[in-house]
């Protein structure tokens, strides 16, 4: 909203001489000196236009009076969306040229790719300039740094200031569309969209049993009852919700110019959280890294915002302190919860924590955010040998988890998350059949 009566904070401008002032002063002085020394008028005539520009330009220059205010049309956006940065300018005096330069944080860029704007302001003019920005990458940003440079018509002096902006802009990761999710081994007592193993009132058919006192008449399966000459009822699976804990390994991050393992981790976490919360499950979050962060499981849209905000605030902080899952508050890991770990499987502490979770009986699945695409094999023979050994070591680690019944699916940049989810589902299906 624009308030025409609001006085904008005036900018304190620092004046500096442009290179043109020095050049013209030098040429004028050189022409005059040559005319004196040589006793000829030609150098003076040649220098006279520069002298004219200097004299008039510096005599007429005045410090400009300018006020600036910046606003964003919204504080929250999703990756790929545009936001409008509105710059309000108020001139207290006529200004021939006003240059506005917007240094933007990496991850946000101007839609028209122009670094700035150049315009002219009349006396007491109030101008609104809209600068569309595109949010390329998720994250929390501070937008609003502005460099303002005003100069006169002659371009001899310029007045400049830098306005440090602090407009918060939170860009949420664009969640992937997931066609299927991991079904939990156990459900909770509350109503939800997950099919429980228990029989009772529900939609999905479970079994047929004999009629017992207390059963509803509408549950009677008349066909089977007629065939068996005794009343039988249909039993259905209960629909319950479940607790899902997203366990994010934030000890390490491997990056290249375009993305990082942490990017992929957060993108997967946001997608899974969104999908599970849609199905009325409770979702919690554990950021297991140099700094431990957690969110106790809860339901609903508010919890989704909490999770995404927690992801935006998470970053890698180096720590060599040993950490086990004992440091995680008990209420963050409720019993019978499905724990989905998203990890590049690099740090020993995360690896051991996952083994510990399994030993404590948690239903665990691992989505391995593969660091392999971010690592070059190397050019020398030793480097390539080391690279191959590293790959073998990772295969061994995956096998160790799978031996304990923990499904591990590798997810690489460029692949749909659905593929990794489906791999985990297939492993769990196979494990259940094998156990049966």
């Amino acid at each position: 909203m624009r308030d025409a009566e609001t006085a904008l904070p005036g900018l304190r401008l620092s004046a500096f001489a442009t290179s043109k002032l020095g050049a013209y002063a030098g040429l004028s002085a050189a022409g005059l000196l040559c005319a004196l020394v040589l006793g000829r008028v030609e150098p003076l005539v040649l220098a006279s236009p520069f002298l004219l520009v200097l004299t008039i330009g510096l005599a007429l220059v005045r410090e400009p009076r300018l006020g600036v205010a910046l606003r964003l049309d919204r504080e929250r956006a999703v990756e790929g969306e545009e936001v409008q940065l509105e710059i309000e300018l108020r001139a207290g005096s006529p200004i021939d040229t006003v240059e506005l330069w917007l240094p933007l944080p990496s991850g946000v860029q101007a839609v028209d790719r122009h670094a700035g704007m150049v315009l002219r302001l009349n006396d007491e003019e109030r101008r609104y300039v809209s600068h569309p920005l595109r949010c390329d990458r998720w994250g929390g940003y501070l937008v609003g740094d502005l460099i303002v440079r005003a100069s006169d018509r002659f371009g001899l002096l310029a007045f400049e200031t830098r306005n440090s902006g602090a407009l918060p802009l939170r860009v949420y990761p664009r969640p992937e569309v997931l066609h299927s999710i991991l079904r939990p081994a156990e459900t909770q007592a509350y109503s939800g969209n997950e099919v429980s193993r228990q029989a009772g009132e529900g939609i999905e058919f479970a079994e047929i049993r004999e009629f017992a006192p207390g059963d509803q008449v509408r549950q009677i399966n008349w066909r089977v009852s007629a065939r068996r000459e005794r009343l039988h009822v249909n039993q259905r699976h209960l629909e319950r919700n479940t607790d899902v804990i997203l366990f994010l390994d934030t000890f390490d991050e491997i990056t290249n110019s375009r993305a990082s393992t942490l990017d992929l981790t957060f993108r997967a976490a946001a997608s899974l959280a969104s999908r599970y919360l849609e199905r009325r499950n409770r979702v919690g979050l554990i950021g297991f890294g140099g700094t431990l962060r957690w969110l106790t499981p809860a339901m609903g849209l508010v919890q989704l915002y909490r999770i995404v905000e927690a992801l935006l605030d998470t970053h890698i902080s180096l720590s060599y302190a040993w950490k086990g899952i004992d440091v995680i508050p008990a209420r963050t890991l409720p019993p019978k919860a499905l724990v989905v770990a998203i990890s590049p499987l690099l740090d020993e502490r995360s690896l051991n924590a996952l083994f510990d979770l399994r030993r404590r009986g948690f239903d665990l699945a691992i989505i391995e955010v593969s660091p392999v695409p971010f690592v070059a094999p190397g050019s020398t023979e030793e480097e390539q040998l080391g690279y191959r050994l590293w790959l073998l070591k990772r295969d061994t680690l995956r096998y160790r988890y799978q031996r304990l019944g923990i499904p591990v699916a590798v997810w690489q940049q460029g692949e749909p998350l659905d593929k990794a989810i489906e791999e985990v589902r297939a492993f769990r299906r196979y494990a259940r059949h094998a156990a049966a």
Binding site: S14, K20, L21, S48
Partner: protein, 138 residues
């Protein structure tokens, strides 16, 4: 040739320092040519002076346009109109100076003194204006 090379390098590499050198070299070459031919200020000195200013203004203007920025559409028109006025004014001033120089006045110590004082005053004016610009820049 050197002047043109200096100007070309300045424009190609966005190097403002080369522009005054290019203009100075052009001025020196003109005066040297006059000397070599034994001529006094010709009819074209004022025009040449205005041309030097035009070259300088256009060079600085083109450097400013190299920076990618959205520009108010009327700015270019206003700047071009201002440049025309400026060149016209400088041409008038240069012509006036040339005409004054053509007035046949015999040299005398008084006249020389006046000339020196005028030149010194002009130099002082330039210096004070430049110093004012330097002070303004802190």
């Amino acid at each position: 040739m050197l002047a043109i090379l200096s100007l070309a390098i300045s424009l190609a590499f966005v190097w403002p320092v080369g522009i005054p050198w290019a203009l100075a070299l052009l001025g020196v070459s003109y005066v040297s040519e006059l000397y070599a031919n034994g001529q006094t200020a010709g009819n074209w000195t004022a025009v040449y002076a205005a041309g030097l200013l035009l070259a300088g203004e256009l060079a600085y203007w083109s450097l400013s346009l190299r920076i990618p920025a959205r520009r108010q559409p009327t700015l270019m028109t206003r700047q071009a109109a201002f440049l025309v006025l400026l060149i016209a004014g400088s041409l008038a001033l240069a012509t006036l100076l040339q005409l004054i120089a053509l007035v046949p006045i015999n040299g005398s110590p008084v006249l020389v003194l006046i000339s020196v004082l005028t030149a010194a005053t002009a130099l002082g004016l330039i210096t004070s204006l430049a110093w004012r610009g330097h002070r303004a820049s802190g």
